[in-house]
Amino acid sequence: MDVDPSNYNQLAINENDTHSVVLSYLVHNCYIETVESFVASTGMKQPADCIDDMEKRKRIYHCAVEGNALKAIELTEQLANDLLEKNKDLHFDLLSLHFVELVCSRKCTEALEFAQTNLTPFGKVEKYVEKLEDFMALLAYEEPEKSPMFHLLSKDYRQQVADSLNRAILAHSNLPSYTAMERLIQQTTAVKQFISEDNAKNGSQPFSLKDFLSS
């Protein structure tokens, strides 16, 4: 099979599709102003309640990333009443964010009490036990940043939780939880990988998105 990419340069692509891809990415990540100007520039139709929904999600996301998990939970409940009930994992992750906050602020008594009330009930279920033990272990150290579980205090972790929350909210409103952009890139990567393995050229490189984009 001829896999010369240049043969596909002439494939027609619908401009509306491209616009949708970009828009979905912007909406997913709550770039409100960018959405507004993009819609204005392209003459696309903006979905109803779009701005409102983005604003809410944006607030929730930032609360989570900043460690204000309780507020994030409150707002989520307002927005989607039973979402956390249905996503126990997420609920646990959010609660644990708050716990981590308390630990970082050296409020040990509060942290312990919070854990005993809110986190330990999860301990009855096998799959949460190890995570729970990880968090509890933070209590043992006066300098949790130096403990073996320091990664639980990092911003990366908070972003991870915030992302999951965002996706869950989107899913709850029957919107795609992964943007078209993400999906397309994932697919391209997979296909390219497959092809290069298949050809087994000597010294074939694994797929690099960066290289692909600059080619």
């Binding site: 005993q116 330990t120 096998e126 272990a137 209590l139 043992a140 006066e142």
Partner: protein, 578 residues
């Protein structure tokens, strides 16, 4: 140095100190200055034995250690006053005052003080010190939790335990313990989570070097070691209930080996070729050239009486074989047929034969459902109980003497093949191992644990082979006579510690298996002894079969038999011969 004590021998000076230095013979760094001028303490009465640092004739026991162990044993037995007096009189402390203080603090729960004292003990290995501190603080932690002082426990964890920087996974577990009760599979589900303080002390004892804190029951352990060693080297050891005494070295006398004829069974009318006890020791089977076999019953007192005479063979019966559950017996006529008999009724249940051929030996599979037999055409044949022939292993190069044995797991079959060799056929691994001797083999027998094989050779030697794992020769036994006939030997006694064999000089020979030493040559028969069997359930009972047409039952040489009495009529107590 300098001062009054200079000219005195070193040991005297040490003895004179208040025992601090004595207690720490591990060369640890802890020292205290010698208290006061030695002349005060010289006023104490000196022990009569002098100042030797070693006791005992071999000079390997250090006095200090010996006394400390005795003191420890006294305390363990509850003789506190005696223990204290010993420490005082000998001038040797069981534990140094620091250690004593430490132990007291542990038992009283003065955790923080005990950690401080631990530092004062001066351990050379820092890791041990840390591990010990960890154990102590862990105990503090758990006791606080048990008192519901969660925040205090947390504080201990954060400020005292975690900073030790050891045992991170345990620290993690401890954190979880604070909130534990609702966990699935959390470390301790009990409401009381702290162990007892004496238990903590025991664990600390094991952790710290033995010179600092003597292990519990160390003296008892040493004594037990000696007793076990004595028992292992006792070559006549043949009695289960032998009480070992500390007063004298354990040594069973010859009187534990059956060495006296207790009964003579005369019911065969010709040479008796084979004899074997049942697995449960309650029956004996014998076979003779008078073409019959006899099942004997052994009663609770060891008295043997005739139960059934099994008639039906047309040739001399060369061997018998008990079914695994002892309910049935196989008998084999020489180059004839194999018959299966019911032990309780004496009835012949089946006859196995190969038309045109003769059978030479017989045996059972361990599940009791199949039997096998050696055939004159050099093959081994197997049958289902009801007579359906199953397999025939041909070409096994079996020679005329077809002894056959199978291991109790049914996995290995042993048969003589060629004059000088025994074939070990592994049915599972489908591997054959050949056990080769340099002289022709006349018979062999397998031990009950399937690990050892006893092989009788033409040249009057009996060889012991180990067949578990690598096949190798382990021991040789000699002394008996064998020139013309097939003589059989067997394992026997407690834990199969002995080997017994027949002999053409009419005696029964008994060797100690491990040492190879000949223990007994028992006279009594008036013809070659063809076969012996040791009762598997009674280490004091041996049976021998002879050309003189009798079977002799051998028992212990003592009138007062410990385990059984009620030999009310003394007729079978013959002294030695007859």
């Amino acid at each position: 140095m300098g001062g009054v004590g200079d000219e005195e021998p070193a040991s005297k000076r040490m003895k004179v100190s208040p025992g601090e230095l004595r207690g720490l013979s591990n060369g640890s760094s802890y020292t205290e200055p010698v208290a006061g001028p030695s002349r005060d303490l010289m006023a104490r009465p000196l022990p009569s034995e002098g100042d030797e640092e070693v006791v005992g004739s071999k000079g390997v026991i250090k006095r200090v250690e010996f006394v400390r162990l005795i003191a420890k044993a006294l305390y363990s037995l509850g003789y506190n006053k005696s223990g204290a007096r010993l420490e005082e009189e000998s001038g040797i402390s069981l534990h140094s005052p620091v250690v004593n203080r430490f132990m007291e603090q542990i038992l009283n729960g003065n955790w923080d003080e005990s950690v401080v004292t631990l530092q004062k003990i001066g351990l050379s290995d820092e890791n041990i010190a840390k591990s010990a501190s960890f154990l102590i603080l862990e105990q503090k932690f758990f006791e606080l939790l048990d008192e519901k002082k969660d925040m205090d426990a947390l504080k201990t964890l954060r400020t005292e335990i975690a900073p030790l920087c050891i045992n991170g996974s345990r620290v993690r577990e401890l954190s979880s313990c604070i909130v534990a009760p609702s966990f699935v599979g959390s470390p301790s589900q009990n409401t009381v989570r702290a162990k007892s303080r004496p238990k903590l002390l025991e664990e600390l004892q094991k952790l710290l070097p033995p010179t600092v804190m003597i292990l519990e029951r160390r003296l008892e352990h040493l004594v037990e070691q000696a007793l076990v060693l004595q028992r292992d080297t006792c070559i006549f050891h043949n009695s289960l209930n032998e009480d070992m005494s500390l007063y004298t070295d354990h040594q069973c006398g010859r009187d534990q080996i059956p060495s006296r004829t207790v009964q003579v069974l005369q019911d065969h009318s010709d040479e008796v070729w084979f004899v074997q006890f049942s697995h449960n020791g309650k029956f004996l089977a014998s076979s003779s050239s008078d073409k019959s076999a006899i099942i004997w019953e052994v009663d609770v007192n060891g008295w043997v009486s005739l139960k059934h005479r099994l008639v039906g063979h047309h040739k001399p019966v060369c061997s018998v074989s008990w079914s695994p559950n002892d309910s049935q017996l196989l008998t084999c006529g020489v180059e004839e047929v194999v018959r299966r008999w019911d032990v309780s009724t004496g009835e012949c249940l089946h006859v196995y034969e190969k038309p045109g051929l003769g059978l030479l030996s017989c045996g059972w599979f361990p599940d009791g459902k199949w039997i096998f037999s050696g055939v004159t055409d050099k093959s081994i044949c197997t049958w289902e109980l009801e007579g359906k022939e199953l397999e025939c292993w041909k070409g096994q190069r079996t020679s005329k003497i077809s002894d056959l044995e199978i291991t109790s797991d049914g996995k290995k079959i042993l048969s003589t093949c060629r004059e000088n060799a025994i074939l070990l056929l592994d049915r599972e691994a489908k591997v054959d191992i050949l056990l080769e001797e340099d002289k022709p083999i006349t018979s062999f027998s397998l031990s009950s644990d399937d690990k050892l094989l006893l092989v009788n050779l033409l040249n009057q030697e009996i060889h012991l082979w180990s067949i578990a794992g690598e096949v190798k020769l382990v021991a040789k036994y000699q002394g008996h006579k064998r020139t013309r006939f097939v003589i059989r030997s067997c394992f026997g006694g407690l834990e199969q510690a002995f080997i017994a064999s027949g002999s053409e000089d009419s005696q029964v020979y008994v060797w100690h298996r491990c040492s190879g030493e000949l223990i007994e040559a028992l006279p009594g028969h008036s013809g070659a002894v063809n076969c012996v069997s040791w009762n598997p359930k009674n280490p004091h009972m041996l049976a021998s079969a002879s050309d003189d047409r009798t079977i002799r039952i051998w028992g212990l040489n003592e009138i007062k038999v410990k385990h059984k009495d009620a030999h009310s009529n003394g007729i079978h107590y013959c002294n030695g011969g007859s």
